[in-house]
Amino acid sequence: MMKEMKEEMQEGMKEEMQEGMKKEMQEGMKEEMQEGMKEEMQEGMKEEMQEGMKEEMIRGDTKGDTSGENCNKKKVLAIDAEKCIGCRACSSACPEGLIGLSEEGGRRNLKFPESCSLDCERCALTCPEEAITFVSEEGRSPAFSGSRTLALGLMACRKCSASFATERELERVRQAVSLKVPLRPGGDFWMELCPACRQESFREKEAGAILRERKIKGNL
Amino acid sequence: MKPKAYERSIDPATRAMLLKAEKEGIETAWDRYEKQLPQCSFGQLGVCCRNCNMGPCRIDPFGEGADKGVCGATADIIVARNLLRMIAAGAAAHSDHARDAVLTFKKMSGGEAGSYGIKDEAKLFSLAAEYGISAEDRSKEEITAELASALLAEFGKQEGPIQYTRRAPETRLRLWAELGIEPRGIDREIVECMHRTHMGVDNDATHILLHGLRTSLSDGWGGSMIATEVQDVLFGTPEPRKATVNLGVLSEDKVNVIIHGHEPILSEMIVEAAEDPTLLKLAKEKGAKGINVAGICCTGNETLMRHGTPIAGTFLQQELAVITGAVEAMVVDVQCVMPALGSLTGCYHTKFISTSPKADFPGTNRIEFHEEKAYETAKEIVRTAVENFPNRSPEKVSIPDEKQECMVGFSAEAILKALGGTPTPLIDAIAGGSVKGIGAVVGCNNVKVQHNYGHVNLVKELIKNNVLVVTTGCNAIACAEAGLLVPEAASMAGEGLKGVCEALGIPPVLHMGSCVDISRILVLASAIAKALGVDISDLPAAGAAPEWMSEKAVSIGAYVVSSGVYTVLGTVPPVLGSAAVADLLTRGLDGVVGASFAVEPDPFKAASLMLARIEEKRKALGLKA
């Protein structure tokens, strides 16, 4: 029973991957669109930040004090579900651990709080895909309502079937790597293995010759 | 697929004989070359040094292996030292040839070499004058003796200058003096080459090459020039005359005697002995209609220039002459004689006669030739040939019918005379642009180039572009074989050159003699330069050696460039192993002596290189394009 289940999963993954490729093309187009959008947003954010700082300086009471509680200015997180690849850098970067992380059922869930009162913005800075942005209370558009939980499909290692990365992460890595070296069918088997199994598979290959030699040598 | 013979030579006679050789299973130089392939790359690049017994050392040209020899010699040092040794060998060959000529001249003047006499008294007195020997109330014999000792002294002297270098233009002399490459003594320079290339002596590439230029000058303006001048005095200065070349000159029904080598001291006597009545009678008795003497290489050129004796072929045709089966005697002295002749003549009735005390070969009947009894020995040699005539086996004989007329004998004096005593008409022609410039195409044959392909096509390309070509050595024979040495060849020349040639009745390609006679080109060039009041390097002139092979050619190339004439080589010299030396030879020398080398195997590209340089010089002289 286990074997069939695994096959379906692999089947499923293969289709997803093909769609992934299709999606990738669409994304390419979408990206230009987002690029444009992102610029306005960043512009917006910068002015807003400067105002925010100006206000504080004028009020002068919270200067230099970055601890979250008594700074009452709430900021809403805007998560771009399309961009997030689920690499969990943000959850480990957040000093207060506000971004929840859990993995079950072949899915990695990232629970983003609706808003955050800290102004360190470390999660936004660490996100490789710049999927996290902050919008002010008023600027919130209906789409970003309430806390968001992104569930991203996890890839299982072909050898030890431990889930080691989200599909999007692998897609991102595959894309980045293929800029440097084109990945041909024979040369990317390791993409489907978790790092530990990659080490083991490389170890066996490395030792292949000497093992054969010692087996042939006779009564070993 | 084209038979191999066609790829090996463009000359029909040569092709015929190659087919005969193939049929008879005879191995020729081309077959031996193929067995050598692939040739050692270290040797080709010149980065193999065998100068001491810690070696042989070699430098990896791609930097992976050794970059220094055991003693630390880099590629630059090894290439430069090997090049210096080639120049030394070349200069030694020419200068030792000159020494023989001067010794013969001295013995003649002392009455010990009765067979020789003075053919060109005018030149005798002009040479004596040059050496400052006063002519009034002195007998001819006294002058001859004094001139002989003066000439002989040139070899052993330790301090310069060598007399004939004074013939170069003032600017050139000053340049040589500044560079410190003014030769001090013919033998001294060559010995110093050998000393400097000994292990651990001269290890700076530029320093080595400068001495190379000095040694070559001691050859060009020393050894070779002395040889030419003395031979002119002894055997007469060549004048224009007609002759025939190629293997077809061998006759079916006469005793064929081939004179091969470089020194006319032997060949003049053989030519004379061939007209000896007793021997002619003997030939008739033996069933031959007469005695036919034909030359190969430079000894052939010498007798061709002075007596019009026919030339059987170039350096690579020496084996083919024997293969015709019609040669009774192959008489050789020194330089460019293939030892293969020993075993080759074994397959035919040909007698391979070596004569020089300095050169012996396996498989020869040795008849040692000395100046004292020159004529008697010559007669003995010709008698041997005549007696050998009956042994000819008719079925083996096949003489190709290619035979080509040619007009030769253009010594510098002859050219000046043709121009009316002064170089001005030529200068005007050049200034006027009908003659773009002068091309000196010389050198030997090389199996690496299709036989005569480089020579003929380069010369044709030059004359097509109105460049007057002067030629010597095997190039001259090749041009003759291609019919370029006849006035009618003017039709192949450009309009300007054609007009000049037809006006003077001379061919567009002037045969100026053997390899040592390149000194005649220097004399001509120097005369024109002085007339124009410029240095030789300013003249619209360029040299070329499309199929060079011998070390003499390296020495010639060196003194031609040191004298200011840009030279294009057809086969690659063993210097590319060192980028520094290669760059110095092909570019650096321009700044040093006003001329440099170029390497271009394709004759057509070589011609365009020469034309470009000539164009450059014309512009510099303000002459219109």
Binding site: R214, K217, G218, N219, L220 | -
Partner: protein, 682 residues
């Protein structure tokens, strides 16, 4: 001392195995913080095995004993040194007075320096008893006797680096790849030069990976194999006739004895095909220079001495001794076991291998020690001490740096013996299982916290200086012994280790020319070094042997089956040994986090076919039982051992509960390597 920023480097010698590898200890404010390698050291050329790399862990380890402890009803009481030593002296004195000197026994340590062992046996002998021994008894006692009888000296004949000059390396009963890793460096160098390596070992070990020919004999059948090889060599005329004629005695006897064990009989006993025995014999005999490397696999049998003798016979037959690349190389266990034996910390030997009871040797010692009374009869060996204590004959036991509960065979009997003693003093750096039984525990300094000379397995005597101070109140063993001697009224005239070494060079002829300064210059000296100008003798037996007539002895030996052979109720054959990450009883290596992490617990290797037969899976907890006791271990299924054979490392308490104490008749070494055993799932 080399200094980098505020860190200082101190040259030192690794405390673990007997190779004597050198390295620099890196200290910062008196605390050991790291290691720098010493590429110029002739033995290990800078390299260190895992234990060497983890050596500094024990220096500032929390478990280190810091104060003298007295056992009272309610646990350990901390004592002052003065108090503790006077108590010890008093107890020893009374025991000696009431039941005579032979009721005392002293167990020296192959971990302590030459000076400390010399002092230890001097105190014992001055007190009138020769009951002083050390753990050499458990490892190379059979080498001392075996090689002593045949070659005249019971030590390694060639230095380790010399192995790289051998054309053939015959490894029998040694797993140097795990127990002496630096030896692998030299053997591999020999292999690079084309050497032929033979490994005879029941188990398939990393050492056999390097072999060109492996002989997987049944445990305990080494004599049969060696005799079989010698039979081939003699009959095929491959022996070195003139060497045998000129340099050995007893060849006819050996030749005659060998006729009985042709390769076929040897094959029946050992389980190795005859062709391989013949191939091994030819390779060894034909090689230009061949070395024999052996260790516990040869010595820890009841036929231990016979095994060693057979090895010596093989080497002598082929003239493979006393030459570059040709030698007999026993790999000792502890870092100073060779030194301890040289110093006479053995029941039957005075310092310098003079026999106890030999008047002339005793005379020389009496003049040196300025005493008129020395014990005439050899004392109790380490294994007999445990037995005698059990029978109540022993009253007081002084143990220095030895965890005999775990390292002696049949540890349950050892525990009973220790309980029945009136007074037990244990001087060690950790609270070992033996120390738990002690009445008085004295905290000692570890190897880098004291100065002294150590003798490695290749007879190289190297000096180590004190790099850092011991924790708490712990003192170097030499100071403790000097204070104790004072308390016992034996006025000993020295203060530092250097002074003791001066006396040693008088007592032990082969240390004659060794002084502290000479040892510190370069990398020590290889004994024998009779006088101060002598450069040391790397290769022994050059020209002549150290026997009276200069000739070696060829002594025939008979194959004798192990004491305990598997039988229906104990069907398995248990053999014990070491793993690369732990050391002997494990008291030091098990306290290094990095080592323990990688080899946490006791395991037993079992052949997959046996495991399947008994439904044992990988990692199951098993109970192993022998006639001596029971232990638990986790199962490891592997083809490294043959069917019907089990292997257990003895670095964890419990292994030696199973091993039997049948002793080799001459060397009195227990048969660790063969015990009949049965297993069942827990």
């Amino acid at each position: 001392m080399k200094t980098t920023e505020k860190r200082t480097l101190h040259p030192t010698i690794c405390p673990y195995c007997s190779l004597g590898c050198g390295f620099f200890l890196e200290l910062e404010e008196g605390k050991a913080v790291g290691i720098r390698y010493m590429p110029e050291h002739p033995v290990n050329e800078g390299s260190l095995c895992p234990k060497g790399n983890a050596a500094p862990d024990i220096l500032n380890h929390p478990d280190r004993l810091k104060y003298p402890l007295l056992k009272t009803e309610n646990g350990w009481k901390q004592l002052e040194w003065e108090e503790a030593l006077s108590l010890a002296a008093e107890k020893l004195g009374t025991a000696r007075k009431e039941n005579g000197p032979n009721s005392l026994a002293f167990l020296g340590s192959a971990k302590c320096s030459n000076e400390e062992n010399y002092l230890f046996q001097k105190i014992a002998r001055l007190l009138g008893t020769s009951n002083v021994d050390n753990c050499a008894r458990l490892c190379h006692a059979s080498t001392l006797i075996g090689l002593g009888k045949t070659l005249g000296a019971g030590a390694m004949t060639n230095p380790l680096a010399d192995l790289s000059n051998s054309d053939c390396v015959f490894v029998i009963g040694s797993n140097f790849a795990e127990n002496h890793p630096a030896v692998a460096r030299q053997v591999l160098r020999a292999k690079d030069k084309g050497a032929f390596v033979i490994v005879a070992d029941p188990r398939l070990t990393p050492t056999s990976w390097l072999a060109d020919l492996t002989l997987r004999l049944k445990p305990g059948t080494d004599v049969a194999l060696l005799n079989g090889m010698m039979h081939v060599i003699v009959n095929e005329g491959l022996l070195d006739r003139n060497f045998v004629r000129e340099k050995t005695e007893g060849f006819p006897g050996l030749e005659q004895a060998l006729q009985r064990c042709c390769p076929e009989t040897a094959s029946r006993i050992t389980g190795i095909p005859p062709s391989e025995i013949i191939k091994a014999a030819r390779a060894y005999a034909r090689a230009g220079a061949a070395s024999i490397v052996y260790s516990m696999g040869i010595t820890q049998h009841i036929s231990g001495t016979d095994n060693v003798t057979a090895c010596a016979d093989l080497a002598l037959l082929c003239g493979q001794v006393g030459r570059k690349g040709a030698g007999v190389l026993p790999l000792r266990g502890q870092n100073n076991v060779q030194g301890a034996c040289d110093m006479g910390a053995l029941a039957e030997f005075f310092p310098g291998y003079g026999k106890v009871g030999d008047a002339e040797a005793a005379g020389r010692l009496k003049t040196l020690w300025k005493t008129d009374k020395l014990p005439e009869k050899p004392g109790l060996t380490a294994t007999e001490i445990a037995e005698a204590a059990g029978k109540g004959k022993l009253k007081a036991l002084y143990v220095m740096g030895e965890d005999l509960v775990n390292s002696h065979a049949d540890s349950s009997r050892v525990r009973e013996a220790l309980e029945s003693l009136d007074f037990l003093v244990v001087q060690d750096i950790f609270m070992t299982d033996t120390a738990e039984y002690a009445d008085l525990v004295l905290p000692a300094a570890a190897w880098a916290e004291k100065e002294g000379s150590f003798t490695s397995t290749e007879r190289r005597v190297q000096w180590t200086d004190r790099a850092l101070s011991p924790p708490g109140e712990a003192k170097p063993d030499i100071e403790i012994l000097l204070l104790l001697a004072e308390k016992l009224g034996l006025g000993l005239p020295y203060r530092t280790a250097g002074d003791v070494l001066a006396e040693i060079s008088g007592a032990v002829p082969s240390y004659g020319g060794m002084t502290k300064e000479r040892l510190k210059k370069g990398f020590g000296l290889i004994w024998p070094c009779p006088d101060s100008s002598h450069p040391g003798t790397p290769v022994l037996h050059v020209g002549r042997f150290k026997t009276p007539d200069g000739k070696a002895r060829l002594i025939p030996v008979e194959y004798q089956s192990p004491a305990e052979i598997p039988d229906p109720d104990y069907p398995f054959l248990l053999t014990t040994g070491r793993v690369v990450l732990h050391y002997n009883a494990g008291s030091m290596s098990r306290r290094s986090k990095a080592l323990l992490e990688k080899e946490p617990g006791l395991f037993v290797e079992i052949h997959p076919s046996d495991a399947k037969a008994m439904e044992i899976g990988e990692g199951n907890r098993l109970v192993l039982e022998t006639r001596r006791g029971k232990t638990e271990a986790t199962a490891r299924l592997t083809g490294k051992i043959g069917p019907g054979v089990l292997f257990m490392p003895f670095h964890f308490p419990g292994t030696n509960v199973l091993t039997g104490d049948a002793l080799d008749r001459e060397a009195k070494i227990p048969e660790f390597k063969v015990s009949a055993c049965r297993i069942r799932r827990e």
